[in-house]
Amino acid sequence: MKTMAARPSHVFWSYVRAQWLLLATLLLYGWAFTAQPQRAAQALAFGISTLFSVVLLILAVMGLVGLTQVWISREQVARLLGHEAGLKALLVAALCGTVLIGPAYLIFPLLMGIRRQGARWAVIGTVLAAYAVKIPMIPLEIEFLGWRFSLFRTLLTILLAIPCGLILETVMQSSFGKNNKAR
């Protein structure tokens, strides 16, 4: 009797834990729609239009996830982006970060897939640090901020990317014996 009652609630809570961000967002919208329906509708419309502006990118990234996981072997990833690749791996990472476009959160799953296949943490960290440089968008940045600003900012970000990646790796490995989840 007791187990039968416990089960659905268990399912419920595991769902809440897995999707808490979505539920929190829905709650926020619920509040917004009761408090200020007009602005809430505006927010929803803006969110949807943002989604549409990156939907092609999402599909492209997921397509890439599928390709990397099936066609590139662990040995290849480790050789190119693992510890054995040395500095080269970090330079490749910095380059990738500057070339890729779109919001950083879109490539999180791609990066975690590569990490699972044997890329070192510093590579992931470097890609994300170099991500603040957007080579395809530099013309736009120059237009708004001037070429001196844009040039110096780009150079500084690239210079700092690899150190940032290495620091992040140190943090990730400092927990190695204990609760490290090297999935």
Binding site: L44, I101, Y105, F144, G146
Partner: protein, 160 residues
């Protein structure tokens, strides 16, 4: 941005076609992996885009400009980084905002910290990042990225 995304997608579609000729089996498997990860991420993405909309409407650009104002001090630098960290939106949107800050007489260091932090630090996407990489990674990366944004701003302020 749309054009570049379209080129990306076309290239990947071509890659799929080319690989399909080499091994239909493995290519089908790739598509399956792609579809599965898309399905798994959909609720998270829905939440993120919902939050972006709320942020845009309830924290409009004019308010951000007002917060940053034309101040030129260490406080402005920190504030620039902090607002960039909390703000969420396409990277391109950071440029006009920073431009109007500069036009209003803001310290370039603060504007630079704002831009870098906008793109590389994400407080709103932190839960998503933690879900994908683990909490330790998400926290460490955002703290490091925030420090890097302030440092970039400071160095840039010195250079300009």
């Amino acid at each position: 941005m749309h054009d570049v995304a379209f080129i990306y997608l076309s290239l990947i579609a071509l890659l799929y076609l080319w690989l399909f000729r080499r091994s239909p089996e493995k290519t089908r498997q790739s598509l399956q992996v792609a579809g599965k990860s898309l399905l798994r991420l959909t609720p998270m993405l829905a939440a993120i885009f919902g939050l972006i909309g709320l942020f845009q409407v309830f924290v409009p650009a004019a308010l951000i400009e007002h917060w940053l104002g034309a101040a030129s001090s260490w406080g402005a630098l920190f504030m620039g980084g902090l607002i960039g960290a909390v703000a969420i939106g396409p990277p391109v949107a950071a440029f006009p905002l920073a431009g109007s800050m500069l036009a209003a007489g803001a310290w370039p260091a603060a504007a630079a910290a704002f831009v870098v932090s906008w793109i590389s630090v994400g407080i709103v996407t932190l839960p998503f990042e933690a879900q994908v990489f683990g909490l330790r990674f998400a926290l460490a990366r955002n703290v490091i990225a925030f420090a890097a944004a302030l440092l970039t701003g400071l160095l840039l302020g010195g250079l300009l």
